[in-house]
Symmetry: C2
Subunit: 197 residues, 2 copies
Amino acid sequence: MAKIRQRKNSTRKETIIETAARLFRERGFSATSMRDLAEQVGVEAASLYNHISSKAEILQELCFKVANKFMSHIDKVDAADTSAIKKIEAVLRFHIQQMVHHYEEVYVSDREWKHLTDPYLSNIQTQRKVYRQRIASIIEEGIRKNEIKKIDAPTAVLIMLHAVSGIESWHRSKQKITGEMLEENMITILIGGLQNK
Amino acid sequence: MAKIRQRKNSTRKETIIETAARLFRERGFSATSMRDLAEQVGVEAASLYNHISSKAEILQELCFKVANKFMSHIDKVDAADTSAIKKIEAVLRFHIQQMVHHYEEVYVSDREWKHLTDPYLSNIQTQRKVYRQRIASIIEEGIRKNEIKKIDAPTAVLIMLHAVSGIESWHRSKQKITGEMLEENMITILIGGLQNK
DNA sequence: TGCTATAACTAACATTTGTTACCAGTTAGT
DNA sequence: ACTAACTGGTAACAAATGTTAGTTATAGCA
């Protein structure tokens, strides 16, 4: 019937993907129907297909957008000339900030990537593995230089990354501390837990 | 057609729920169909209903079984006469051990409880909230007694509990360290991160 | 041997699902 | 003013979903 009120400076496709991210977070990818999504966008389900080609594509866009963001950040960190523990702190702070400010998409891509299908599934799995190995390598470097406690590096990675995903609880809690306070607390505990002495 | 080979010492219903736990972990609750489940059990979908009353019931049983286990454990910990930091360590060790040895059910109840429906949903939400508050109280006690760093207690809880759920990655990894090693590493990092000095 | 409870089967149901085909109105550029 | 690109709607689809009804065959016990 009608053309569109182009909201703000975002395209219609972006609006759909943003809305989808919210629903996928709240209900999960599988439990969100295209009709649910359409209703939230304010349109009929079939109309969504003027902007996206499938439900799967939405998840792909979300997952790869986030994956690229984290990959290019760790590139910069790796290139920097600082101590291992500082590098780990930088990675951790980036994760925290992303979870605080781009909650929906980061959370969804972390929890729902399993619903991708090949070749996207294999691609993401590889990227995740590589990413974790890169962090583990920094930690091992830190252990050799005695900056970091003698621990199993993959275990440390697992703790770091999963602890960060707990920021979901913070978002849903009534009386939140500020994002900055949250960040400092998490750094205190996690970097404090890794650091030697 | 045929009667049953009653496997081991578990009832048919228990077999179904165990199998469901595995599938719910792998694919998620919503993405697992009753026909998928039936196939894994080795039976037609309709036959499942001789043992369970609905798909929802399976999730309920899993969630409340796990919730009860954690609730009664923290009761014991609370009653004990030790330092706050020792109590936190006990809770943490219990979580780790449960995730190591009862992976499927613990993981599923932690990730999929959102798909419960009322009144079960409200019930679980309340239980989870209470549980986290009890841990937070112990941490706050530890802060007052100077056993624990001056941090935001809810944030510490969030880190602890989510870090533990990372044990999923450990389960799926090829070259695992032992469960005992995993536990010690996690305790080193997390208790080390909380402890004062 | 015959009775009863159990647990499997087949068939079918009403919904819900993702998606397509097709049409209609609006907007922008010529 | 005419056209083309968009973006919306309606109707419909085939497949998949959770679940029920009704039936049959087995196992254990009287």
